[in-house]
């Protein structure tokens, strides 16, 4: 009986030491393995957009147009979401530049976001970029955030509205609007 007790004590001590030593994370070599998750993808219906024409006036003017539809497909099958942010460069025409203080770009998703394929039906949340503050030219703002887990696909059509004040000269302006999904 005493021997059994002693043996049991030794066994438990070893088990306790092993359990306490197990989580030590001071691994000298990091081994890697290959995971099998799918991809996170972004697709746009076109690579350019023409917002149309506006006429200059004393009170300023507004140009509004649709950007090509953006489709985000998340095949990673994870419990993590993604977010899509949008940024715009300044609008230029040759040597002319519309200064950030003279133009506000305001982007909303007019169509969508629509969940096109997912097990759940949660609609992604969007942060409408405030008309008063506008999209700061040169900075990025998170625009659409996935709310569902597991694989899903979302598409939305952004509308951009550029408010220009009266001091901007008449010309054809261009710029780049970029979507980042991460």
């Amino acid at each position: 009986m005493r021997k059994a007790l002693a043996l049991g004590t030794v066994a438990l001590s070893l088990a306790g030491l092993a359990a306490a030593a197990a989580p030590a994370s001071a691994a000298d070599v990091t081994a890697t393995f290959t995971v099998a998750a799918g991809t996170l993808s972004i697709a746009t219906a076109a690579t350019s957009a023409n917002l149309g024409t506006a006429t200059t006036s004393l009170t300023g003017t507004t140009v509004t147009g649709n950007l090509p539809k953006v489709t985000v497909t998340d095949n990673r099958g994870s419990t993590l979401g993604w977010n899509s942010s949008v940024a715009s460069t300044a609008f230029t025409s040759g040597a002319l530049t519309i200064a950030a203080s003279k133009a506000k770009a305001y982007i909303v998703p007019t169509n969508g976001p629509t969940l096109t394929s997912a097990a759940l039906s949660a609609v992604p949340s969007t942060t409408a970029i405030d008309a008063a503050t506008g999209l700061t030219l040169g900075a990025a703002q998170v625009f659409v955030t996935a709310t569902t887990t597991a694989s899903n696909s979302v598409d939305y059509t952004p509308t951009v509205q550029v408010t220009i004040d009266s001091t901007v000269a008449a010309a054809t302006y261009s710029g780049t609007i970029s979507h980042t999904v991460v």
Binding site: L5, A20, T149
Partner: protein, 338 residues
């Protein structure tokens, strides 16, 4: 012949009524995914999708990413690291090829991949942390971008997709991750849907990506509801505090309900509960209620030392019992031998 025609007609009539046309799986655009993760983070869902690691100054790590071109045409893909920051509760990549300390340590090779339509390519991400670097967690993203110079005037549309990098630098032991659910607040959105907003504070040393579920019990008439999923996208920096929103079914009314919220980030999980009552009018909010923390569910940093301590206690008790028996045996022999 005529029964083939009947089958065709039937196919038209009884076909699935899809509300939305399913996206063409062949045209999902430019895609990226992580190919490698460390073996000692096998139970961390974040490490399977993002580059999440903790290293000491002077160390180097390497991961592979795969880029897939499903745009329907050949493309030249640029690969580069971009600076990121945790702002307003989300992980934001700065525009362009913005740089920070972490992007200076990252090298992506090759920097350009020419991919035919439908083709994929692999790139290696090497991160070398200089010796003497101060501790702390840095953020960046490995971006894949298709840059096409459009000859048309107007607005050019660029798009890029990336893999997040959460790199912690410091001593041999990784900073402990932890968070606290401080308050729960019931409200009704302008569209009438009931929501619960939880204020979450990151009390640990690493960024957290929150996900989880909310269950309602002990409601009016003894009803229960849920679980409802928490909205994703909240990333908390160490020391940061942000709301996590759970949108509930519109049929949920009034209260009081016992709301139990379970949130997790990677392998870390915490739960808290509070009694909430939903306002009747749309667009109204109830007062935030302090949440009661529930006992730990899954935390390897606590459970293993706890198990070790319990085993130690059992060992101590057994040793004591052995010692007492030995003393008693010696006591029996003493007087008996004489």
């Amino acid at each position: 012949m005529c029964w083939i025609a009947i089958v065709a007609v039937l196919g038209l009539v009884v076909g699935p009524a899809a509300a939305q046309p399913a996206p063409d799986p062949a045209r999902t655009g430019l895609g990226i995914r992580l190919l490698d993760a460390p073996s000692d983070r096998r139970d961390d869902p974040r490490a399977q999708v993002y580059v999440v690691d903790h290293v000491q100054p002077g160390a180097a790590l390497s991961r592979r990413v795969e880029v897939v071109n499903r745009t329907g045409r050949a493309a030249q893909v640029s690969l580069y690291p971009a600076a990121a920051e945790l702002t307003a509760g989300s992980f934001q990549v700065l525009p362009g090829a913005a740089a920070n300390q972490l992007t200076g340590w990252i090298r992506v090779s090759p920097a350009t991949l020419r991919l035919a339509a439908g083709a994929s390519g692999t790139a290696t991400v090497d991160i070398a942390v200089p010796a003497g670097t101060g501790g702390g967690e840095r953020y960046a993203a490995v971006m894949a971008e298709i840059r096409e110079s459009s000859s048309e005037e107007g607005i050019s549309i660029a798009s890029r997709v990336g893999v997040r990098v959460y790199l912690s630098v410091g001593g041999p032991k990784e900073p402990v991750s932890d968070f606290e659910i401080t308050t729960l607040q019931a409200a009704r959105q302008p569209d009438g849907r009931p929501i619960v907003t939880a204020q979450v504070r990151n009390t640990g040393g690493r960024a957290l990506d929150m996900s989880g579920t909310l269950s309602l019990t002990a409601g009016p008439g003894g009803l229960s509801a849920g679980p409802f999923p928490a909205e994703l996208g909240t990333t908390l920096p160490p020391g940061g505090s942000s709301p996590v929103v759970v949108v509930l079914d519109p049929a949920i009314r009034g209260g009081p309900w016992v709301a139990t919220l379970t949130l997790r980030s990677g392998p870390l999980e915490r739960a808290a509960k509070a009694t909430v009552t939903f306002p009747d009018e749309a667009g109204q909010q109830a007062e935030p209620v302090a949440a009661e923390q529930l006992p730990l569910v899954k935390d390897p940093d606590i459970l293993v030392p706890l198990a070790g301590a319990l085993i130690g206690l059992i060992v101590a008790v057994l040793l004591y019992v052995l010692y007492r028996r030995r003393r008693r045996d010696r006591g029996d022999e003493g007087p008996g031998a004489q």
